[in-house]
């Protein structure tokens, strides 16, 4: 009787140890996926802002549009990367600035200018597409972390340690008029 208690006690301990090490490794992997995805998004947002600055300075847009774009882009480049909420607002502003600046006439004008306008527009389009991708991949990773960290075992044993619970990155990044040939 005694012995079987000991055996099941040891088995239980082994099981818990297994669970802890496995769960911790799984969470660790998920957290590093989020960190990786966040740094990718960060880099793509910088690229988008730089491409927008280039667009503002290319001379193919009217002065007012150029000024709106330049101000939104430099806000983005100077944003405090640690403050996610304000950064989300700044990046959505940049999207909206692109949306108002790139009206039908401006787009036609840029596309016709094969030397400067078209390639710059192409860079903005590509950069925005990559922002969309990077944001979606980040949010997928964040959702996975949040789901695993909600599990009772993970919460009870504090497997996540002191790591902050990551949040999805919510911005408007739709620029339908740029299209993608679709």
């Amino acid at each position: 009787m005694d012995l079987s208690w000991v055996v099941s006690g040891v088995a239980l301990l082994v099981l818990i140890a297994w669970y802890v090490s496995y769960g911790a490794a799984r969470l660790d992997r998920l957290h590093s996926r989020v960190e990786g995805a966040l740094s990718v998004l960060d880099a793509q947002l910088v690229r988008r802002a730089e491409a927008t600055l280039e667009l503002a300075n290319c001379g193919a847009l009217d002065a007012a549009s150029a000024l709106i774009l330049a101000s939104a882009a430099s806000d983005s480049l100077e944003a405090d990367t640690a403050d996610q909420t304000s950064r989300e607002a700044i990046e959505s502003d940049l999207t909206q600035a692109l949306e108002v600046a790139l009206g039908e006439d401006a787009l036609a004008h840029l596309r016709a200018d094969e030397a400067v306008g078209a390639p710059v527009l192409q860079r903005v389009t590509a950069a925005n597409q990559r922002v969309q991708l990077a944001r979606r991949f980040l949010n997928d990773a964040v959702t996975d972390v949040q789901r695993v960290r909600r599990k009772p075992g993970v919460r009870l044993l504090r497997l996540a340690g002191h790591a902050e619970l990551p949040q999805t990155f919510e911005i408007d990044d739709e620029l339908p008029m740029l299209g993608r040939g679709d």
């Binding site: 099981l15 297994w18 669970y19 496995y22 769960g23 490794a25 799984r26 992997r29 998920l30 996926r33 990786g36 995805a37 740094s39 990718v40 880099a43 793509q44 590509a126 597409q129 990559r130 991708l133 990077a134 979606r136 991949f137 949010n139 997928d140 990773a141 959702t143 996975d144 789901r147 695993v148 599990k151 009772p152 075992g153 993608r180 040939g181 679709d182």
Partner: protein
């Protein structure tokens, strides 16, 4: 970039996923990337030199149909060796939940992983039963791609999270350059329409076309129906009026070349499919060949045809509406020409050069600043993890 692509299905038999993998690999190779494809195959099948044999494929009944899959310890070991020797910047796994090389690769790899979901029916009992086991390895995927809106919906409802939609590609030029065949071309008196696909499969729409034929023949008695695809012509003729049966010409299964020539030659290509299509690759092939397309208004078809700009739509499963549309098109050469031109233009959006660029954008986003792929680092990776996952599944 060094790219490793994993196909779960054997290259011995043609299929949508295999073709997708082959086309993608060949496109990236032509762009100067290093590509290695891991796929099951039988020992004596000649394989393209970029394909690595993952092991013998066994026909298995899975998810309602028979697939040729490869699994077991020997295959797992080959997958491990392929990952170690490949020095890939990223691994792109197709159908990551297919119980074959894909699942094994997902377990064996650490690092940048892209996964493409093709199927729009994942909801198998096996999938749900094994879900706790698969979950942790699915969490390793950095980027998910779905080939259609329907496949994406499957991903979001069954796996959670989201997926980027990047459709299948078509080598538009292969179809655009197909020569016409005079005996398949229509005349004013004897116009031609074409149907492609398995005729005994009702969802391909042969019954709808059969019912529409008497109405069409009443208006245009000389019309010829060219039917290409596997199936028994007598079964089809049985269900038609004798006049309709006489108007049909059965070509049997056709080669890729003849398919392109048929599409290029006929006056109207009809796709009366009644459902179950997640994506209309055949419509894109037809548009590439400059065919005038008439298709049922399934959501997938309507999207491909840009809501009717690049081809005519008729009410799904409505033979009378189909007949009306066929007759109107056959009597209006200018409209046909206009649709064919718009379709040819539209097809460019689905050319591999465009589609593969989108895939490359995903690759670049995923590998950005990350170390390349390595074999799973945990010492007792596969079986140990399998055991442990099994034990803690109660908590999920």
């Amino acid at each position: 970039m060094r790219i490793g692509i994993v196909s779960p299905y054997s290259f011995d038999v043609p299929g949508g996923v295999q073709l997708h993998v082959r086309d993608l690999a060949e496109h990236f190779i032509s762009k100067g990337h290093h590509v290695s494809v891991l796929a099951p195959a039988d020992g004596d099948t000649p394989l393209p030199d970029y394909v690595v044999n993952a092991g013998h494929a066994v026909p298995v009944r899975y998810n309602g149909s028979v697939a040729r899959l490869s699994f077991g310890p020997l295959t797992a070991a080959r997958v491990g060796r392929w990952v170690e020797s490949g020095r890939f910047d990223l691994v792109h796994i197709h159908e990551p939940v297919a119980p074959s090389v894909s699942v094994l690769a997902l377990w064996a790899v650490d690092g940048p992983i892209v996964a493409t979901f093709h199927s729009s029916n994942l909801r198998s009992r096996a999938m749900q039963a094994a879900y706790p086991l698969l979950r942790p390895s699915l969490e390793k995927i950095s980027a998910r791609i779905a080939v259609s809106e329907d496949a994406r919906r499957t991903v979001t409802t069954h796996l959670g999270g989201d997926a980027v939609v990047i459709p299948n590609g078509v080598f538009v030029e292969r179809f655009a350059s197909a020569p016409r065949r005079p005996d398949w071309q229509g005349t004013v008196e004897r116009p031609t329409i074409a149907f492609l696909g398995r005729m005994e499969e009702p969802r391909k729409g042969m019954p709808v076309l059969s019912q529409a034929l008497p109405h069409i023949l009443r208006e245009i008695p000389g019309v010829r129906i060219l039917i290409a695809g596997p199936g028994d012509p007598d079964d089809v003729r049985e269900k038609m009026t004798s006049q309709a049966a006489a108007a049909c010409e059965f070509l049997g299964p056709v080669s890729d070349e003849d398919k392109a020539r048929l599409l290029a030659s006929v006056d109207v290509y009809v796709a009366p499919n009644t459902g179950g299509e997640s994506f209309g690759i055949i419509l894109i092939e037809a548009m590439s060949a400059r065919a005038t397309v008439l298709a049922s208004d399934l959501p997938a078809f309507s999207r491909v045809l840009h809501g009717g700009d690049a081809g005519e739509l008729f009410r799904n499963e409505d033979p009378v509406d189909l007949a009306r549309a066929v007759v109107a098109l056959l009597r209006d050469p200018a409209r046909r020409e206009q649709l064919a031109a718009a379709g040819r233009e539209r097809a460019n959006a689905f050319d591999w050069s465009v589609v593969a660029e989108d895939v490359m954008a995903v690759y670049e986003t995923v590998v950005f600043g990350r170390p390349p792929v390595r074999a799973s680092s945990e010492p007792d990776s596969r079986w140990g993890r399998l055991l442990r996952t099994g034990r803690n599944s109660g908590g999920t």
